[in-house]
C-alpha cells in the first residue's frame, strides 16, 4: 500500500464553453499540508468540489487510500472521511454552535423508548471534548450569530472533526481574518496535521503557503503547471508560475500634494436596519489626491460608513460635506450628481442588475438624463451602446460574443467588477468610494484595479478605500483610518503605521489604553 491518502488521476471538468480542469493529476500524502495555488478561475475550487462530491468529473478517477471511489455527493465524501470548510461558511445563524456541528448526524435518544429526541446534552459534551482535544476553543451553547468570524471558522473545523474527517479541505480560509487571527489559524492547521490529519488548503496568498505547506500544486487556466516542494521554492518563483509572468503588486505612487477638502464627515452616527448602533461619532476628511483607507475586521461598520455617505443608510447625527456643501439631507441620486461614485461591496445584490444587459448596467447611473433619455422619458439605446462600446474597450471588459447585449449574470466575477468600476470611473466624480474592490479577484485583475485606483488619486480625485485585505490597505493608502465597533480607533498617515500596529487597532486593543 502506498502512502497517499488521495490521488486524483487525470481529472477533467468541462463546463459549456469552458474547461475548468484539464487533465489534472495530484496526489496528497497522508499527514501533509498540501497547498493548491492559482489565480481566480484557475480551477482550484472546481478541483476540490470534484473531490468533495459537488461536481462530477467529466473524465478521470479519484482514488482514496489506493482504491478507486466514486464521489457523487458530499455525503459520499463524508463517508470517506473528507471534510471541507467553504469560503463562505455554511452555518445556521440562529442555532447554537453545538446544534450546528451535529446538524445532519444528530445523536438521538428515545424518550419512553418511543419518541426520538435529539440528545443535545450529549452533543454539547462531545463538542466541548472535541474542542479541548484540538485546542479549538468554542462555547457550544453560544449562538452562531453572536460569535466572531474566527469562531465561526473554528466551528466549521469542528464540524469536520465531529464527522471524523481525516482529510480536511480549506477553501481560502484566511480571506476574512485579521493578521493575528490568520496566525492562530495557521497554528491550528499545523497542529491538526501533527495529530495525523491530512490537509489541503486552497489559497492565493503565497506567504501563508510558505509558512505552513509541505508541498504546493500550481494551477493555471485549468492545467496543473507544477508541484513544488515549498521549502526549496521562493514565493517569487511561485507567483510567476501562478500568473505565467512576473508581476509586481507594488504600486508606484507619485508623491503629490493634497488639494482642498473634498469629503468632510463630522460626528456621524447611524443605526442599521436592525436598529443596532453601527456607526458612532465618526469624523474624518479626505482631500483631493488622497487615498484614505479604512481598515477593520469585517462587520465593524465599514459598509455602513460607505452607505451613510452615499445616502443608502440614514444617519442619526452629524453632517457630511462634499466640497463644503452639506449633502446629508440629499437623496441618493442627488448625491451621485454632486459627485460621489460608489463601488459597493456586494456586486451581485447592489452593484449590478444581473439580469439586465451589460449596456444597461454600464449606464445605470446616467440612463435617466440626456443623452440617454429624452426629456419626455423615452430611452435612447443608441447612446447606451455607444458608451458601452467605449467602456468595454477602455476597461477591457470581456463579455461574450453578444457584446453589450450580454446578460451580466453570465459574465465572470472579475469582469462584472470591471464593469462596475468602468461605470463609476466614467462618471468622473470628485469622490470615489471603493468597498472591497478586489475581493474574489485574481492577482492579474487586482493589479489592474490597484493601478486604476492609484491613477485616480494621481488625477486628483479623493478616494475612500474600504478593505478587509490589510495588504491592500497598506500598499495603497496615504492615510489609514482604523474602525472598530463603529468607532474610529485612529487616523494616521500610512507611513507612521506598521501592518502589525494596524492589526492591533483592528482588534480594538488600544480602546481602553486611550
Amino acid at each position: 500500500m502506498n502512502n497517499n491518502f488521495v490521488e486524483l488521476k487525470n481529472i477533467s471538468k468541462v463546463f459549456p464553453n469552458i474547461v475548468a480542469n484539464d487533465n489534472v493529476s495530484i496526489d496528497v500524502k497522508n499527514g501533509e499540508i498540501y497547498a493548491i495555488l492559482g489565480e481566480n478561475g484557475a480551477g482550484k475550487s472546481t478541483l476540490m468540489s470534484v473531490l468533495f462530491g459537488l461536481y462530477e468529473p467529466s473524465a478521470g478517477s479519484i482514488h482514496i487510500k489506493g482504491e478507486e471511489v466514486k464521489i457523487t455527493s458530499p455525503l459520499d465524501a463524508n463517508r470517506l472521511h473528507i471534510g471541507m470548510v467553504h469560503q463562505h461558511f455554511k452555518l445556521v445563524d440562529n442555532q447554537s454552535i453545538a446544534e450546528n456541528i451535529i446538524l445532519g448526524i444528530e445523536p438521538i435518544t428515545k424518550k419512553f423508548g418511543l419518541f426520538p429526541k435529539i440528545n443535545i446534552k450529549k452533543a454539547e459534551e462531545d463538542v466541548a471534548l472535541l474542542s479541548k482535544k484540538y485546542h479549538l476553543e468554542v462555547n457550544p451553547t453560544d449562538l452562531i450569530k453572536d460569535v466572531s468570524v474566527s469562531t465561526r471558522q473554528r466551528v466549521e473545523i469542528l464540524k469536520m472533526l465531529y464527522r471524523d474527517a481525516q482529510l480536511l479541505i480549506f477553501d481560502e480560509p484566511t480571506a476574512v481574518l485579521t493578521p493575528q487571527e490568520i496566525e492562530s489559524l495557521l497554528q491550528i492547521i499545523k497542529s491538526l496535521r501533527d495529530s495525523g490529519k491530512t490537509i489541503i488548503i486552497i489559497t492565493h496568498k503565497l506567504d501563508e503557503i510558505k509558512k505552513i505547506a509541505d508541498r504546493c500544486a500550481i494551477l493555471r487556466k485549468g492545467k496543473l503547471i507544477d508541484v513544488l516542494d515549498v521549502e526549496t521554492t521562493t514565493t517569487k518563483q511561485m507567483s510567476s508560475l501562478m500568473v505565467g509572468h512576473d508581476i509586481s503588486l507594488q504600486i508606484k505612487k507619485e508623491d503629490n500634494a493634497y488639494g482642498e477638502d473634498v469629503l468632510r464627515v463630522e460626528n456621524i452616527s447611524a443605526k442599521n436596519s436592525d436598529r443596532v448602533q453601527t456607526l458612532n461619532n465618526i469624523s474624518f476628511k479626505i482631500r483631493s489626491g488622497e487615498i484614505l483607507a479604512v481598515a477593520g475586521v469585517s462587520g465593524n461598520g465599514q459598509v455602513e460608513l460607505a452607505d451613510a455617505i452615499t445616502g443608502l443608510l440614514d444617519i442619526t447625527e452629524g453632517q457630511i460635506y462634499l466640497s463644503a456643501k452639506e449633502i446629508n439631507k440629499l437623496d441618493i441620486r442627488e448625491r451621485i450628481e454632486e459627485g460621489i461614485a460608489y463601488i459597493p461591496e456586494d456586486r451581485h445584490n447592489v452593484g449590478l442588475l444581473l439580469d439586465f444587459t451589460l449596456a444597461e448596467n454600464l449606464c445605470l447611473k446616467q440612463y435617466y438624463q440626456e443623452p440617454y433619455c429624452s426629456d419626455k422619458g423615452v430611452l435612447n439605446f443608441e447612446e447606451f451602446h455607444k458608451t458601452s462600446d467605449q467602456l468595454i474597450k477602455n476597461f477591457d471588459i470581456r463579455c461574450g460574443e453578444d457584446g453589450y447585449n450580454t446578460v451580466v449574470r453570465s459574465m465572470s466575477g472579475g469582469n462584472q467588477q470591471k464593469a462596475i468600476i468602468a461605470r463609476e470611473i466614467h462618471a468622473d466624480s470628485k469622490l470615489v468610494i471603493f468597498v472591497q474592490p478586489t475581493r474574489g479577484l485574481d492577482v492579474g485583475a487586482i493589479e489592474i484595479i490597484h493601478k486604476r485606483i492609484a491613477k485616480l488619486r494621481n488625477d486628483g480625485k479623493a478616494i475612500l478605500l474600504i478593505s478587509l485585505e490589510l495588504d491592500e490597505v497598506m500598499s495603497l493608502a496615504d492615510t489609514i483610518l482604523v474602525i472598530y465597533n463603529g468607532e474610529v480607533q485612529t487616523i494616521r498617515d500610512a507611513k507612521e503605521l506598521s501592518k502589525e500596529k494596524v492589526g492591533e487597532y483592528m482588534m480594538g486593543v488600544h480602546t481602553h489604553a486611550k
Binding site: 468541462v14 473524465a59 437623496d331 441618493i332 456586494d346 445584490n349 447592489v350 444581473l354 440612463y367 423615452v378
Partner: protein, 381 residues
C-alpha cells in the same frame, strides 16, 4: 437505454433550451402538453379528441360550424370571441405589469367589480349621449382602478404591507360592499343581479344588423390593441419602464443607482390598477351588462396564469388571452356536440393554466439538459 433517454433529453433541450425566443417556445410546449393531456382525458371518456378540439375552434368562430341558426354565422361567433377576450387582455396586462415590478397583483377581480359597479351607478342608468357615456365609462374604469392600485402600492410603500394580503382582503371588502348596494338598491327582482344598464353606456353594441346578421360588436377591441402596444412601449423603451423592471429584479441595486423604489412601486400599482379597472368596465359594461352580487369574476384570477402563459410580455398576453378565450367560448358547442359536460373544457383550460404556471420549471429543466448534453458532447467528441 441510456441513448434513448438522451434522445428525449436532447429533443426537450433543443425545444425548450436556451436560445432565441426560449420563453415563446416554452409557452408552445405548455400548450402542446395540455392538449395532449386533454386528449388523453377525452379518450378515457370515449370521445374523439380531434373532433373535440375542432368543435372548440368552431364554437369560437375560428372554423365554420356545420350549420347555423338564422341570422348567425361564423362571423357572429368570432365577434363574440373578441367581445369576451377584451377584458382578459386588460386583466392579464394588469397582472403582467405588476409582475414585471416584482408585485403580485391578485386584486384584479376586486378592482374589476368596483370599477364595474362605479361605472354602472354613475353612468350606466343615465341618458347621456352614447359616445360621451362610453368615454365616461372608460374614464371611470381607469380612475377607480388607479385609485385602488394606488392604495395597495401606498400601503406597501408606507407600511411595508404585503400586497398579496392587502389584495385578498380588498377583494372581500369590495365584493361585500358592492353586493350590499346591489342587493338593497339595484337588484333586478327576476335575475337577482343588478338591473341591466342602458345600451348607450354599454361598450359592446348588441345585435347590430350587418350583412343580414345580428352581431355583438365590441367597441373597445381596438383600444385594447392600442393599450397592448402602449404598455409594450412603456416597458421596453421608456425611463419609467426601465426603472419598473429594475425594481422588479433587484430593489437593492435600484436604490443604489438612485431609483426611488417606493415611488416606482406606487406608480406601477397605479398603472396595474388602471388596467384592471379597464378590465372591469369592459367586462361588466361590455361583455355583460349587469353585476352578479357576492361573486368576484374568475377572470381576474385566470388572468394571472394567462399573464404567465404570455411570459409577462404584452404581446404574449394578447395572444394568450385570445387562446384561453377560444377555449372558453368554444365550450358550449363542444359540450352540445360531443355530449360531454361543459366542465371538460374548463378542465383543459385549467390544465393549460397549470402547465403555463410551471413554465419557469420547464425553463430550468431545458437549461439543465442543455448543460448536461453540452458536457457529454465535450467528452465524447
Amino acid at each position: 437505454m441510456l441513448n434513448k433517454k438522451n434522445i428525449y433529453k436532447r429533443s426537450f433541450a433543443s425545444f425548450c433550451g436556451p436560445g432565441k425566443h426560449q420563453l415563446l417556445r416554452i409557452s408552445f410546449f405548455c400548450l402542446f402538453l395540455s392538449l395532449v393531456t386533454g386528449a388523453i382525458l377525452l379518450l378515457l371518456l370515449g370521445k374523439n379528441p380531434f373532433v373535440a378540439y375542432t368543435s372548440l375552434l368552431q364554437g369560437s368562430g375560428i372554423l365554420p360550424k356545420l350549420r347555423y341558426p338564422g341570422r348567425k354565422s361564423q362571423l357572429t361567433d368570432f365577434f363574440n370571441l373578441l367581445n369576451y377576450t377584451v377584458p382578459m387582455i386588460f386583466a392579464s396586462l394588469s397582472v403582467a405589469v405588476a409582475l414585471k415590478c416584482g408585485l403580485f397583483n391578485i386584486c384584479v377581480s376586486g378592482i374589476m367589480v368596483l370599477s364595474g359597479f362605479m361605472a354602472t351607478v354613475l353612468v350606466g342608468y343615465s341618458d347621456i349621449t352614447s359616445i360621451v357615456a362610453k368615454i365616461l365609462v372608460l374614464l371611470i374604469g381607469v380612475g377607480v382602478g388607479a385609485l385602488v392600485g394606488a392604495l395597495i402600492g401606498w400601503l406597501k410603500y408606507r407600511f411595508n404591507m404585503n400586497e398579496v394580503v392587502v389584495a385578498i382582503m380588498l377583494n372581500y371588502i369590495i365584493s361585500y360592499v358592492v353586493s350590499f348596494f346591489i342587493n338593497t338598491q339595484l337588484a333586478d327582482p327576476v335575475t337577482r343581479q343588478s338591473v341591466e344598464i342602458n345600451q348607450n353606456a354599454r361598450l359592446t353594441l348588441v345585435d347590430v344588423e350587418m350583412f343580414g346578421l345580428r352581431i355583438n360588436i365590441t367597441t373597445v377591441f381596438v383600444l385594447a390593441l392600442i393599450v397592448v402596444f402602449l404598455i409594450k412601449f412603456l416597458l421596453d423603451k421608456t425611463r419609467f419602464g426601465f426603472e419598473l423592471k429594475a425594481v422588479g429584479v433587484n430593489k437593492n441595486a435600484s436604490r443604489y443607482c438612485g431609483i426611488k423604489v417606493g415611488k416606482t412601486l406606487v406608480k406601477t400599482m397605479i398603472i396595474s390598477g388602471a388596467l384592471a379597472g379597464l378590465a372591469g368596465v369592459t367586462y361588466y359594461l361590455g361583455s355583460y351588462a349587469s353585476i352578479q352580487p357576492r361573486v368576484v369574476p374568475q377572470l381576474g384570477f385566470d388572468a394571472i396564469a394567462v399573464a404567465l402563459l404570455g411570459n409577462m410580455n404584452p404581446i404574449g398576453c394578447l395572444f394568450a388571452s385570445g387562446l384561453i378565450m377560444i377555449f372558453e367560448s368554444g365550450t358550449a358547442y363542444l359540450s352540445s356536440r360531443l355530449g360531454v359536460l361543459r366542465e371538460i373544457a374548463a378542465l383543459i383550460i385549467s390544465i393549460l393554466l397549470l402547465f403555463s404556471a410551471s413554465s419557469g420549471y420547464f425553463k430550468i429543466l431545458g437549461n439543465k439538459f442543455k448543460l448536461e448534453l453540452g458536457e457529454n458532447g465535450g467528452r465524447n467528441e
